[in-house]
Symmetry: C2
Subunit: 241 residues, 2 copies
Amino acid sequence: MNVALEPTDRTRIRRGRNRAVPDRAALLALLADGLVAHLGVTVGDHPVVLPTAYAVDPGGPDEGGTLYVHGSVAATWLRSSEGATVCVTVTELDGLVAGRSAFHHSMNYRSAVVIGRARLVDDADEHRHALDLIVDHMIPGRAATLRPSSRKELAATAVLAVPLHEASMKARAGGPVDEPEDVVAGVWGGHLPVCRVVDDAVPASDNLPGLSVPADVAARTRWRTPPTARGPAPAASPSPG
Amino acid sequence: MNVALEPTDRTRIRRGRNRAVPDRAALLALLADGLVAHLGVTVGDHPVVLPTAYAVDPGGPDEGGTLYVHGSVAATWLRSSEGATVCVTVTELDGLVAGRSAFHHSMNYRSAVVIGRARLVDDADEHRHALDLIVDHMIPGRAATLRPSSRKELAATAVLAVPLHEASMKARAGGPVDEPEDVVAGVWGGHLPVCRVVDDAVPASDNLPGLSVPADVAARTRWRTPPTARGPAPAASPSPG
């Protein structure tokens, strides 16, 4: 699947071309790291942007693979999206860049913008598979430990599929790039790495006595994205089962 | 400024009304915690969602206060936004919720959705003020330590203002809410707190010898959002100056 992305006019990076990453492996790595997507849909005459859980099936049925988001069947945004062109953006903030001038302040980040026609998943097998992927995206391996979803639960949950064909990615890393006169003037420049940390599991107050934290949940704790100079991340994504 | 939000039909939470937070103080607290906004604009016939730095002026000139985003004057999205209705969404992920079933998996989060007509800032004083706010939003107190932006730098940077009048907020916290039969079946449930951590400053490789990390930058390190059981956050936002 490590083919180059094929941006169209609407995903081609217009500004900051040096930050475009025409690399499907980097796109999939970012989508694996992220936990929240921001879905843009048109509602009436204006865009609405909503945070949502998501998952990716690189070998999914859509061209370039499939990105799945889910929601209640009663959600307005979901009904607005079916068959429409939507935008799904996943951003990981990696740092704050303290330049020697306001103008050269920046952020380190990785961001993917996927634009495509949203398809409502109506195949029962794809529906179940997508929901399992979304659970495993949060906690790898968890879906296989749970009972199958009931017919009622499946009926209450809609899944939208967006092709990963039309996507672009931008990234920035490292310290500031400043005006030479500000550097020689002795202004301090640098950057502050920012990461996301998953803390120890908090058991539900109504757990039966004696239950221990399952292996898949335990493996997700102390997950650190991205790893920084203060220490590498533990293994992030054990295989299910 | 702690007045209730006044959602209109387009920001009123339709799904999950129990998660709506009609409270301006909570909205401003989230916007203070967040570092990246996702801006939705209509480009051609579809929405595009882009990550962007931002800042808030609760006493800004727009109804309900002003949210500022900035970009290159040459950016397509910025030209597409002027005078148009845009959506700015800020989301903080606070946890992963491991329910006893796939259906009850969820995320803990705080998210604000602001919808409004974007105004291109053309007043010179407001322009400078907004850019200072955006720098200070990243590193509180930093703007006052920097030289004034040059005329050329200001001319290269456009600022969009969005009123904070029409906004809604949703939040989820705590453990899973499961089916009683899954609880008594002995399935483990719980949640994994997720936080954002700012690490120690990395000085630029071209800093002059002997420069030490400025107080405003040092104060930003070890910032942890939200604070969790593993330890409270240090003071996050010292006042400028």
